[in-house]
Symmetry: C2
Subunit: 430 residues, 2 copies
């Protein structure tokens, strides 16, 4: 409550944007009064940014709203990678209306771009040409080619620059912002647990610790992040499809899938497991990255046409950071751009392995107010391998960003303290 | 979000009342607009009820506010056990002002009493005599001698009865309400844990998993509940005083202390441990209930005058429910009234023992967004004794009542589903 990092986060906002909207398209709007002008309109810009989820990566999905005399003129979200940015979409819509934007305000969730040499003409130039009087931004852009350029252009033209809902905007743009501070994919942990840290019971049953609305939020997040990663136990036991389907739309893309399989057990998987895994994978569909020892696999006949969607990524030396370098390299080879973010959904052993190596940049944790008291499938402890004696000072401690009650579950969203990433961004400009 | 049980709980309210006020007397008021008239004034009544914390047990600490023409006339909280109820305090204050209460509204956190034979004349009669037009109540009184009597009196006199913030009022009055449904003390679990359920590290260090404002809330709760219980490991390792000191006032009483000591180790405790234990225990001070085998203890010379404050409670047959019957009996013997509520503060072994036996009626859990990954001091597992294989269906599953971010901690407040207590009360009148 006294913490400025948290005070910035309005109830209902988190790493996935405005969480009720992520769960259901007809969610009630955020309870920000219209008299709280800048925060009200920045919340609208974040809602607009959410419309672009899944189509802009590795660019950020920005939202922009143009307001004049407290009336909305137009809004826009970033289009597919390489096409228009949010501010241009909103400016074009205003131009179509023939609106005079003199002294209007543009609310943008991220600092407008100002550099040359991108795929698009700089948004800052467009805002100047249109005659706007004021630009309110959410997050500053830390990209080394972009930081401050747009703001310089705006300032030179006499446009006032202010900030609103920086915390919420940074949370929404987290993968993009974190990627600037990190080589390789931003890693996000996601799991649902009882209070005593169980992700499943002693019979490996995990259906369901969290409720349907929490799962809908998870599916929303599968749109947000580039790839979903699971361990082999989870794959063999649950036959997960790892697709975004039960959340609010747009469902503009399905995430790539990463299978962590040190012992090459995928080669022995049943048809049911493989069919679920290849669900949503079409000629233009997502890739399945198979992380294992050098190994080949013979797919069932009806899946054989998908063989070129299965990409082998070497993992044999128990060097997990190296694995993510390999993954990024394979992705760049295939798509010509970085693998910016990976959401790791379990099970307990894979999550614990990555927690031990302190590799998570952020986590979404759904906590159920219950105690299981079982023996297995508990986060924090490896079932095979060494479990060292631990001191409180050695814990993986995260910045708490947001909490939200979702029916009977408590969502906890937190960001790694290791890089002090959130704090540095917070201190930089505020 | 779709759950009506949760929708009743305004942000910031929970089992301890309005949580920011519990932590600091100068907390900002709840953000309920004055235009939301009944909820605004009921929140004021709950704030007033909080002023009576610790002085009314086993009676509930009720708050009442009298409002006329949207102006507050007076307010009051229940006085010490056997003295005036909240409504009478508010009526007397209004009478001193010479206020005309015709058509005024009284907001009371609990149904006004209406029976004869209590220590006080019925509040409902006072409200009728004063000429009030409307009474808004929070929780209904399930007490078998009281339920509905006050409301009948009010209705017969033509007074309109409405309800507001029932969820918040029930949460505040939880120990009193739950006691009506249960023989013996209402048991409340309280602990601070990492996400993976650690209450301490492998060196038994638990200072600190939660932050200072979470600990201040714990001290507030020590005013609310009749007694605080800890296990012998916690007592010997931490030398806790178990007093209410770092929270917001009033600090009207200190809780009794219950030491769970199956192996009679208190007899070997150091002076430091004993001095902390007897802290705040004076001639009129709280009692220390020592739960152990039949055993005597020789107190250090400087504590010998406190010997009659140490009460032995037999525990030797591993029957925990029986222990609480014994505790209640000893308390009635000494004070002539029930031991209504006990807050169990740890450690992990005692909490797990009570969770296994499904004895908790509610819990306050502070969760730190971190993973320790240690071997010991983890809730849910016994370090000695059998740990059965568990199925998800066998978990202790609670109703989630409230969550609150307190700096870097997430407070989770939940109520047992076993008695379906909360739900039954919710369904009864709403």
């Amino acid at each position: 409550m006294s913490d400025t990092r948290l005070a910035l986060l309005e109830s209902g906002f988190g790493l996935g944007g405005y969480i009720p909207r992520a769960i259901a398209a007809d969610a009630p709007p955020p309870s920000i009064p219209r008299t709280d002008i800048d925060r009200y309109w920045m919340a609208q810009a974040i809602l607009e940014a959410m419309e672009g989820i899944g189509r802009t990566s590795p660019n950020p999905s920005v939202g922009a709203v143009i307001v004049k005399g407290e009336i909305e003129v137009s809004r826009g979200a970033t289009e597919v990678y390489g096409s228009l940015h949010a501010e241009r979409v909103a400016l074009n819509a205003a131009a179509l209306l023939g609106a005079d934007l003199k002294d209007a305000t543009c609310y943008a969730t991220l600092e407008p771009c100002g550099g040359r040499g991108g795929k698009q003409p700089p948004c800052a130039d467009g805002l100047v040409t249109a005659g706007l009087g004021r630009v309110v931004i959410g997050a500053d852009d830390p990209h080394k080619k972009a930081a401050g350029l747009g703001l310089n252009t705006l300032t030179a033209a006499g446009i006032t620059i202010e900030r609103a809902l920086s915390g919420e905007a940074k949370a929404w743009h987290f993968p993009f912002l974190a990627a600037q501070h990190k080589g390789g994919p931003v890693l996000i942990g996601k799991w649902a647990q009882t209070l005593d840290g169980h992700l499943a019971d002693d019979h490996n049953n995990s259906q369901w610790i969290s409720g349907p609305r929490s799962r809908a939020y998870t599916h929303w997040l599968r749109q947000k992040y580039d790839a979903i990663m699971v361990g082999m136990n989870t794959l063999l036991l649950d036959s997960p499809r790892l697709t975004a389907r039960d959340s609010a739309p747009p469902h503009a893309r399905q995430p790539h899938k990463i299978i962590f399989d040190p012992s090459a057990r995928l080669a022995t998987a049943s048809s049911k497991v493989l069919e679920a895994l290849f669900d949503s994978t079409s000629a233009s569909g997502p890739i399945i990255y198979w992380c294992t020892k050098d190994k080949s696999i013979k797919l069932p006949l009806d899946l054989s046409s998908y063989a070129d969607r299965l990409i082998h990524v070497p993992y044999s030396d128990e060097d997990v950071p190296l694995l993510f370098k390999h993954l990024d390299a394979k992705h760049r080879e295939r798509f010509g751009c970085e693998l910016q973010s990976v959401m790791v959904e379990g099970g307990a052993q894979l999550l614990t392995l990555l927690l031990r190596a302190d590799l998570f940049d952020a986590c979404h944790v759904f906590v159920r107010a219950g105690i299981l008291g079982g023996l297995r499938n508990r986060v924090g402890r490896l079932e095979r391998g060494d479990n060292p004696v631990r001191d409180l000072m050695e814990r993986n401690d995260f910045h708490l960003l947001a909490t939200q009650q979702i029916d009977d579950d408590v969502l906890i969203e937190c960001v790694s303290r290791k890089y002090d990433f959130w704090k540095r961004i917070a201190e930089k400009k505020e």
